[in-house]
Every structure is written in structure tokens, then in C-alpha cells.
Symmetry: C2
Subunit: 328 residues, 2 copies
């Protein structure tokens, strides 16, 4: 891993991944259309002689092929992550999560890049079908997709696997993330709750009834995990050139508990207004808890608990309230 | 089911499905771009007052929306079925099996059509991961895709499920076919073997070593199964609005056995030239055997065995050698 091509370079996870690579002496080409990415997230990287940013869109295959020249590894983070509003623009998930991934793979083929890491999501499991009250393993039952987001990411996974198993690339690492949080976090429940509490510290509107159980992972732990697995090259001599890992901590929290962590950190005691129902929006999964034994068997461990990650995120948001002034 | 919109109307399965619907008094709008479909397969349907054919392409969403007006059920058969040559034109599977399915769903949303049947494939299971030596159930482990064809069909399934579980349509019936054969069969091993034996009755080139074990289903049994399930409306009051059925007979045959049936029917004893290896092409699955208990529990049974289906197919090909003169 000498020269990594990172899609979604100016995004939350992409920019943190880039900073880590540069700190470790790896050359990086960042690729971002800056539609939701924040150029400020690359302020540090842009000072670095081993970094260059190319502005471009994954739907522009010729430009993508051109930009990827010289890379020996692709980290594909670019995605539409607007999970809740999928039905307002259903083509967006398909384009940005499925067709974009296809273009990344074609650009790899063109440039002879043979290794990829892909940010997928626990949403690909839909709602676990067989025995919901246990952490979901990578080998869970063939799921019924319940959201456009999950369907489009699952389709991206399928394309990557087809390229790897079909001998077009050598190593594919697919990571099914829980929700990631930490520095540069710009959407999700901590972001939304804090935004509300800035505007009105005395009450908080909560989607659903607050009993949804969710899992989160700190972004630096996420970056660690991806690099750890890619460097072990676990796909190299495996039966399948596609290696899939759930990525999260071995725990979950209720939304209500998360509200507790947030309010304690802010010193607030707002009135809680629940919209009701056991899920926050159409396609919301009331229980996300991934079995992470497979990645733990590689020797990786998360450094922060969910509660610590939430507090770390909130502190970053407090110090960077400018992110609320930018459009997403 | 009063007015069915059938994509891939001039194709092998679509045209047989249409003939059945018309015989049962159902109104049909057929939709086909005639890129691989055979207009002759609709000779009978075109005589029928309840049938109209609209020539158009699934990638043309406005035309598709327009053509679907008035339908109350969609049977989506149109697909790229050129499984072996996926790597020559990788965008073809993505466009014709994934994006086309998305367009069909969007046209349904536009027209308020709430029910769909979709022809998927056992290829979505990739190569069964856990215990290969048993029939693959619908709830098998979350597969690693091994072909573009399987990946693109799996992606189509995922989109349909997302629409159904997201409340955009009411009932989705997904059928994972084994290879279908019978009247109007225009590609596959019986087609290829007979073509060879017409040209040179004394020898036969066999991809792989002949020990691949495959499953087949007679097209009239396939049509029966789809109508049987759609009329039972099994998705209507189920936990999931997406109902997935493996579709095949409860048996498989070795390629070598199939060669035996074919040669016996033709009265030939060719020399067999094997290309070798345990699979015929990149992405070929050496063992396809689906667990069909779920669909059998609805009361459906196939009428022909695999051997009977192969012979029936061969007799149709013998009587319709013109299909070898058309380009596919």
C-alpha cells in the first residue's frame, strides 16, 4: 500500500482515513465531487507533499480512470448517506452507491489496481430474519432488503465480489459499518440532537419512541480496522478473494441512553418529545447490533466504547459549530 | 390480475407466460426492445384481441411509464442472460438487470401498479458457502457473489424488496430459477449441444469435465409456478411483502447425464471432447441444486422431470431449427 486512491476524500471517514495514511508515509490521491464533502476537512492533508486532491464525480468514468493512475489500492468511501429521505430521490442511492461502485471497479481494471476496501453498512442485513435478538454475523441469512440505502450498498458489495471472484481484482475488503461517529461527523443522531439543543435547550424531538437499539463506532477505530485488515491481506490466500467484516463495538445502546450521554455532557435536562412508534422513519431498523467476532479474530480491538465515542463526537461538534452553517 | 404488463415479452419465458395469460382470459401488454426477443414467439399472441405489443427499452423510463398505463400486475422477465461473456461487456448486466429493474419499479410507482413477479436466478447464491452438498434454501447464508450476472440479479432483487418493504408496492414475488428449458428455448447447453451435433454429429465439445451438476425446469412448469403463487397472493398478509421462492425440480443432473439424454434422443454416439476443469467458464457454478420445499408447500408441483424437460426441449429445437439462423 504505497499510493492509495480515496473516493469521498473530503467526507467524514475519507478525510480521517487520508490523514492517517499521510501520517504513516503513504502517498494519497483524494477524489471528491465536493457535493457533501467539506474542503476544510482536508486543510491538513493539503499541506502535505504526498497528497493531491482531484475534484471529480464517480459518474464521470473517463475522469475517474484518469485520476486513479498510479494508485495501488483504492479506498472507496464516496456514497449517498441520506438514508432517511431515500424515497424523495430513489435514483440517488442507485447512482451514488451502486453505479458509482461499478465505475470505481472499471477504473481499477483500466489502471491495473488490484486491491480495494469498501465502506458498506449493517443496513445490508435489512431486518435480521431468523433470530433477531442476537448480534448479526456476516454469514446471516440471505436478507430481504428493507431500504434503498441497504439495497444499493448490497448491490455495490455484490459487484465488488463479482470482480474479485471473477479474477478481475485480487483482494476485496468489504466493511459493514455500524454508524460511525467522531471528529468531522456531519450527520446522524448526535449531530441532529445537538443542533436541536443549540436552538432550544429545553426540549428535544426524538424520532420513534427512543427504545431503538443502535450501534456506533468511533471513526479512528474504524480507520484502524480498515488498515489493520488490508495490511494483513486476509483476502490474499483465502478461498474467497472477497473478505467481509462487520465493523462495530461489541455492544449497542438505546437511543434513550444516548440522549442521556449527550444531555449529561451538555449539562441539559430537556423535555423529550417522542414522535412515537418503534422506528424513527420508514426503513429504520429498530435493532442494529453486529457480530464483530470475525474482525476481532484478526487482532483488532476498538479503543473507545459507544458512550466514549458519543462524548468525543459531541466535543468535536461543540468546537466546530461551523459544520451546522454549511449545507448538506 | 386483469391486465398484466410483461417485460421481455418476445423472450423465451415471457412469450410462454403471455400465451398462458391470454388463454386464461387475462389482458396483456407486452414490452420488448426485440434485441434478443423473437417476434415469431408472439405470432399466436398477436392474433389475440386482449394482447398488444409495445416495442421499447427498459432504459427509456418515460416510454416505459407510458406503456405500463392501465396494468395491475407486472411480470418482469427482461434481462441480459449472456452469463458466460459478462467480462466482455460488464456494463450490460448492470444496465439490463439492475437499472432496468429500477426503471420498472419507478414506472410502477408512477402508474400505481402494486404487484410484481420477477425472474431472478439461483446464481444469486454464488457458490453456496457453508455446506455445499445439499440443496440451497432461500434462507441460505448471505452469499458472496461470484458472477456479474448473479450480482446484477441480486441487486435487482434488493431494489424490488426495498420498494415492497418500503411501502411503495404491495406484493413482490421473486423467483430464483434454475435453468429453464422447453418450447422457445434459445440458449443454454441443450441449444449449444444440438447446434454442434447438427454441424458435426460425430463429436461434441463439452465445457469443463462433464461432472458439473445442474438443475433445470420445464418452462410450462415455471409459468405454472409463477401464476400459482401470484394468485395465492402469499405476500399479501405475510410479515414481508417480498416473497422469495426457489424454482426448480427436486433433482439435479450431471452434464454427462444430460449429454446421454440428448444423444439417445438424437440416436447419436459422438466422441466427447472435454475442455477440462470442474467448471465450464469463469463464474460457472459446478453444483446448482435449489431447495424447492417452500414453493412446494404452496401446493405447486412440476409436471416434468429434468430428463423429460430436456427431451421436450430437443424435440422443439428439432422442429424449429430456424432459431439457429437468427442472431442472439
Amino acid at each position: 500500500m504505497h499510493h492509495v486512491f480515496v473516493t469521498g476524500a473530503a467526507g467524514f471517514i475519507g478525510s480521517n482515513f487520508i490523514d492517517r495514511l499521510l501520517a504513516e508515509g503513504v502517498r494519497v490521491t483524494g477524489w471528491d465531487n465536493l457535493s457533501t464533502g467539506q474542503i476544510r476537512f482536508l486543510d491538513g492533508a493539503n499541506q502535505h507533499p504526498h497528497f493531491r486532491l482531484i475534484r471529480g464525480d464517480n459518474m464521470d468514468l473517463p475522469a475517474l480512470k484518469n485520476a486513479m493512475q498510479g494508485a495501488d489500492f483504492v479506498a472507496h468511501f464516496a456514497a449517498n448517506a441520506d438514508i432517511r429521505d431515500g424515497w424523495k430521490h430513489p435514483e440517488k442511492d442507485l447512482q451514488q452507491n451502486t453505479m458509482a461502485t461499478f465505475n470505481v471497479l472499471e477504473a481499477m481494471r483500466e489502471n491495473g489496481v488490484r486491491r480495494i476496501a469498501f465502506s458498506s453498512t449493517g443496513s445490508v442485513y435489512g431486518e435480521a430474519l431468523v433470530t433477531p435478538e442476537r448480534p448479526t454475523p456476516e454469514t446471516d441469512s440471505f436478507p430481504i432488503q428493507t431500504s434503498l440505502y441497504g439495497a444499493s450498498k448490497s448491490a455495490g458489495e455484490g459487484l465488488i465480489a463479482a470482480y474479485a471472484e471473477g479474477g478481475q481484482i485480487d483482494e476485496a475488503y468489504i466493511f459493514r459499518f455500524v454508524s460511525i461517529l467522531g471528529e468531522r461527523y456531519t450527520h446522524g443522531h448526535v449531530f441532529d440532537f445537538y443542533q436541536q439543543l443549540i436552538a432550544h435547550p429545553d426540549h428535544l424531538r426524538v424520532l420513534g419512541n427512543g427504545t431503538q437499539r443502535k450501534s456506533y463506532l468511533y471513526v479512528q477505530d474504524c480507520v484502524d480496522a480498515i488498515l489493520h485488515v488490508a495490511r494483513q491481506a486476509t483476502a490474499k490466500n483465502a478461498r474467497h478473494h472477497t473478505q467481509i467484516y462487520n465493523l462495530g463495538t461489541p455492544e449497542y445502546v438505546q437511543v434513550n441512553a444516548s440522549i442521556g450521554f449527550i444531555c449529561a455532557e451538555l449539562g441539559l435536562t430537556p423535555r423529550l418529545d417522542y414522535t412515537g412508534g418503534d422506528r424513527g422513519w420508514i426503513g429504520d431498523n429498530p435493532f442494529i447490533f453486529l457480530d464483530t467476532r470475525k474482525i476481532q479474530e484478526t487482532g483488532w480491538r476498538p479503543q473507545l466504547t459507544i458512550a466514549q465515542g458519543i462524548v468525543r463526537t459531541l466535543r468535536w461538534l461543540k468546537a466546530n459549530r461551523w459544520v451546522y452553517d454549511t449545507r448538506h
